[in-house]
Symmetry: C2
Subunit: 341 residues, 2 copies
C-alpha cells in the first residue's frame, strides 16, 4: 500500500482507480488521479507541473522512514528544486496473506476466504504473532511483498515462515498480481485486502502487522509558487501579521534539510541549537548520506510551527539562523498537523 | 559482503573461512571465527558469551544506516542488555555482477571472466554508471542480491537493468550460490569478487557501486564486563585520571541511545543540547520507531570522545546530564576512532 504512489490533478473528471486510500484527501469530483509507478515518478510529475499535487509515503510507525522519499527530498542531483510539502495524511495499514489454500474446506468463499479455521500451521510460538492463519500454510514455499512490509510483519513471518524464501517486488499490489499468476499455488503475497479482492485470491491470514496501530504517514507535495510559498488550497490557517500563539505552533509542522561543513562536525550541534534558541519543538530527525563526500550527511529535521509568508515568526527566524550556521539548508514546506486535527 | 556477520572467539585455532574482510581486525592465529547467519545471531552470540566479540555492519557510505543493527541496539525486547561497542572497522566495498555469459568469447577464463569487452549492452546512458559490462547482459532476466546492494549500485542498475526482476536474498554470497545453481544462465548476482571465485562464476561487470569511495563501517561488539566497562584488548588509550585533551576527544567515539517523553516533544532539543553544553561534537544522529507508542522514536547519537572508567570527563558528564532530561538513555560503548588512525 505504501509504495504505489499517485499525483492527482484538479479536474471534474474521475473514475480512475488508485490503490492509495491516502487519496481520500482529494475528493474525487474535484481531482483526477494519475497513478505513478515509483516515488521518484511522483516527485518528477509535481516538479514538471504535469500534476498539481503528489502523495508520497514518508514513514511507517513500525518500520521507520522511507529512505527513498528522504533521498528525493535531499535532491542531490538537483532534479526537484521546487518541491514543497503542503500536507500530510495518516493511514492505518493492515496486511493480509493472499494466496490459494491447499485443500479448500467446504463452503469456502474463494473471493474473500474469511473462514474461522485457526492456527492450523503447527507454529512453534503463535502467541507472539498478532496475525493467525485462517488456512493451512504448510504448502507455501515462496513469499512476495514489498521490502517495507517484511519489517512491519516481522512477528508473523518469524512465527510461521522462518526460513521461507522472500521475494522483494516493487509494490504489495504487484506481489498479489504475481501470486495470482502462479498456478502452483505454492506462493503467497503480503498485500492489502483490496489487492486480494481485485485478484480473486484467498485470505490465508489477516492483520499480519506486528503493531495494532501500524500506520503510514504520507506527505502531500506541490510545486513552489512564484511567490515562493506552497500554501495548500483551503488550509490558510492563522493570518500572517498576527502574533504567533502556542496554538499556531501546535497546528503546523515544518520540514527542513541541512548539511554541515565536513571539516566541522561540531556544526551539527550548532545547527540544532538554532531551533532550540527560537523555542521550536523538534519532533523528528533523520540523516542520509549526502554523497558529497564519504561519511558526510544530509539531515532532515521536522519542527512544530510554520514558516510565515510575511517573514515574521519563530520558524522564519530559525531558518535565517540556520542559514548562517549550516553549510547549506532548505525549507521543504510547512503544513497543517493532521495528527492533532 | 555487509550482511554475513561473524563472532570470533579467542583461540589458537584457525582455518575456518569467513567472508568478512572486517575480520582482518582479528588476527587469525589468535581468534577462531564463528560465522553467524544474521546480525541478530551475532548480537545473541555476544550477549550469551558463546563468543568474546562480534562484528556487525553499521552503515554504508552510499546507502546509509543498517536499520537491522540499529534495531538490535534499540533492544526493545530486552534481549541484548549487555552489548557494548568496543571498536570499528572501515572497509571498501566493491560489487561485481556474477553469472554466465551467453556466448562465451574465445579465450574466456570462466573462473574470473575479466576480458576487456566494453559496454556491449546498447545501454541508453552508460556514462552515468561507473560499472561497465565486460560481457553482453541481454540474456539476464533476473538479479539476486542483498537489499543494501541495490541502493549502492543504483546507477548501474538504472542504466543496464531497468525493469529487470530483482530478488532479495539474505546475503550477497547467498545470491552467488543461487546463481551458480541456475543452469538457465539467465540469472546474475551482485556480490563480491570472492563469492564469484568461490562459485566459479564469470565476472559480467565490475565496480558496480555508484561511488568510488563506497565503504561500510562495521562495529565490534563485546559483552559488558562485570565492572561495566568494555575496554577492548590492546586499546586502553589515555589513562583515566589525566586531564582530557582535544586529542583524546578526536581519538575516541561514543554511541548513545535515548528516548524522550512522548508528551514532551521539546525534550529532543533539550537532550541534544546536553552534548553541546559539554563541548561534545555530534557526528551522527539516527532515529528508529521505539514501538513504545505510535510515532515515538528512539534516537542514536554518536559523539567524539569516550566515557572514562573513573567517571571524569565530558562524556561522563553529558551522560549524567542526559539521564536527567531523557525518558531513558543508554551508553552503548566508546572505542578508538579508526577513521583518523
Amino acid at each position: 500500500m505504501i509504495r504505489t504512489t499517485c499525483g492527482p490533478t484538479p479536474s471534474p473528471d474521475t473514475g480512475q482507480h488508485c490503490p492509495i486510500a491516502a487519496l481520500s484527501h482529494f475528493p474525487q469530483p474535484h481531482y483526477t488521479i494519475v497513478p505513478q509507478t515509483t516515488i521518484a515518478d511522483v516527485f518528477a510529475a509535481v516538479q514538471s507541473g504535469s500534476v498539481s499535487q503528489g502523495v508520497v509515503p514518508f514513514e511507517n510507525s513500525s518500520n521507520g522512514s522511507v529512505i527513498f522519499t528522504l533521498d528525493l527530498f535531499a535532491d542531490l542531483a538537483g532534479r526537484n528544486p521546487d518541491i514543497l510539502v503542503c500536507g500530510e495524511v495518516y493511514l492505518g495499514v493492515h496486511h493480509c496473506l493472499l494466496g490459494r489454500s491447499k485443500d479448500a474446506p467446504e463452503g469456502q468463499d474463494a473471493g474473500t476466504g474469511r473462514t474461522t479455521a485457526e492456527d492450523v500451521s503447527g507454529s512453534p510460538s503463535p502467541a507472539k504473532s498478532r496475525g493467525k492463519p485462517l488456512r493451512d500454510l504448510g504448502h507455501i514455499t515462496k513469499l512476495y511483498s514489498h521490502h517495507q512490509a517484511w519489517g512491519q510483519c516481522n512477528d508473523f513471518l518469524t512465527t510461521y515462515f522462518k526460513g521461507v524464501e522472500r521475494i522483494d517486488v516493487s509494490s504489495t499490489s504487484k506481489a498479489a498480481e504475481i501470486v495470482q499468476q502462479d498456478d502452483s499455488g505454492c506462493s503467497a503475497a503480503i498485500s492489502s485486502r483490496m489487492a486480494g479482492e481485485l485478484n480473486g485470491l484467498e485470505f490465508l491470514a489477516e492483520n499480519l502487522e506486528d503493531n495494532e496501530g501500524n500506520s503510514t504517514r504520507f506527505l502531500v507535495l506541490r510545486r513552489r509558487r512564484d511567490d515562493g510559498t506552497a500554501r495548500p488550497d483551503g488550509s490558510a490557517g492563522a493570518a500572517d501579521g498576527e502574533a504567533e500563539t502556542d496554538d499556531e505552533h501546535a497546528r503546523y509542522k515544518t520540514l527542513v534539510s541541512f548539511t554541515v561543513r565536513h571539516s566541522e562536525p561540531g556544526d551539527l550541534a550548532g545547527c540544532l541549537a538554532v531551533f532550540q534558541k527560537f523555542g521550536l519543538n523538534l519532533t523528528s530527525i533523520n540523516s542520509r548520506p549526502s554523497n558529497e563526500a564519504t561519511w558526510h550527511y544530509i539531515f532532515f529535521v521536522e519542527i512544530m510551527g510554520r514558516k510565515r509568508h510575511d517573514g515574521s515568526g519563530a520558524v522564519n527566524q530559525a531558518l535565517k539562523g540556520l542559514d548562517g550556521v549550516a553549510q547549506s539548508c532548505r525549507w521543504l514546506g510547512s503544513w497543517e498537523n493532521a495528527l492533532e486535527a
